[in-house]
Amino acid sequence: MVDIAKQSSGRTSARDIAVWDPLIRLIHWTLALTILLNGAFIEAESEMHEWIGYIALSLVGVRLIWGLIGPKHARFAAFPPSPARVSRHIKAMLRGDQTIHLSHNPLGALMTYNIWLTVIAIGVTGYMMTTLTFFGIDWVEEAHETIFGWLLFSIALHIAGVAFDTWRSGVNLVRAMVSGRKNIPQGREVE
């Protein structure tokens, strides 16, 4: 059976599992784009910068709602932020256990929540800078910039994590976030 499944060079083998729905993928790459634009290309004082910030905020907003009502792999329940799961995951990795998580793995889940919260914090401090009450107040601006630094650090870590897990699990995670499917290598457990 395994032989035949492998030889039937079809569109999707039985081990190609759809995990990321189109909404998640759109949000992921649009959010990446907004961060790139606002961080690197758009004048920080401009109105464009504010609008892109609002767009980033609403992207996270839609994703959070989707985490409540979306399909299985999109839900918070599929990747709860749990230190216990993280430590179990790390121990499993050290043991050489190669179980594959269909949604985020426990470490990836932490990064996901971290990036959402960071983007929200940047959005909120950014919005505060436009209000009369907080306009020109130093600590708000400093917070905005410090948190952006944290975001850059998180993104670097996120990319490193994706590279590491792609190497460890053999599942190309970047491809999964583009096509929505995780290609699970032969004979691997999934969770």
Binding site: M1, D3, I4, A5, Q7, S8, G10, R11, T12, A14, A18, D21, P22, L23, R25, L26, I27, T30, Y54, I55, L57, S58, L59, G61, V62, I65, W66, I69, G70, P71
Partner: protein
């Protein structure tokens, strides 16, 4: 199969379009909510018709987003159900094929040739893919037909078509076929399922 594949693609496109609409509408909703909040902060009246209209638009957009999200979730879950069904069907067919090949005691080379025959390749193409002479492939194919007690390509393929159309793709069937085939030598060699059908 072709038809199902096509409609899967259509569904995927629909899902992508829905997702795009959700995002766009979400942005619009945010724009109107922001505008309402801003206007209210500036003049503090909620009875202004302009503001009222904007509030209605905001509420409608939020409702629309929620509705589209539910719609998308429904579509995605139908798609995943269908995919599961397809996987089971193709998985079971592969099992049935494997069982048949075991019954007929095909050699590794004959298995390859048999699978390529099932996929609709002619002998010359098979020879090219396996980098052997066309005569070798012809001999292997003849041996496959002989072992399966069929008189040629068409009948060989129809063995599996029969299996598909009879809807006998359950693993239980395959196992039963396997067991009976091994224990009962009086069965005709060609059809492992003949005792059941």
């Amino acid at each position: 199969m072709k038809l199902t594949f096509w409609s899967t693609k259509t569904k995927e496109r629909r899902a992508t379009v829905l997702a795009g609409l959700i995002l766009l509408q979400g942005l619009c909703a945010l724009f109107f909510i922001g505008d309402v909040v801003e206007d209210f902060r500036l003049d503090g009246h909620l009875d202004d018709p302009h503001l009222l209209l904007e509030s209605v638009a905001a509420v409608a957009l939020v409702g629309g987003v929620a509705f589209l999200m539910l719609e998308l979730r429904g579509l995605l879950s139908r798609m995943s159900d269908m995919q599961t069904g397809l996987d089971i069907a193709s998985g079971h067919l592969a099992e049935v094929i494997e069982t048949f090949f075991d019954e007929w005691k095909l050699t590794a080379a004959e298995r390859d040739v048999a699978i390529m025959i099932l996929k609709g390749l002619d002998n010359d193409t098979i020879a090219q893919m396996r980098k052997t002479a066309a005569g070798t492939v012809r001999a292997q194919a003849t041996s496959v037909y002989a072992k399966s007690a069929t008189d040629g390509r068409a009948q060989f393929i129809s063995l599996f078509m029969e299996e598909l159309m009879a809807g006998k793709m359950g693993p239980v069937d395959a196992e039963v076929a396997h067991a009976t085939g091994q224990n009962d030598d009086s069965l005709p060699p060609g059809h492992p399922h003949s005792s059941k059908s």
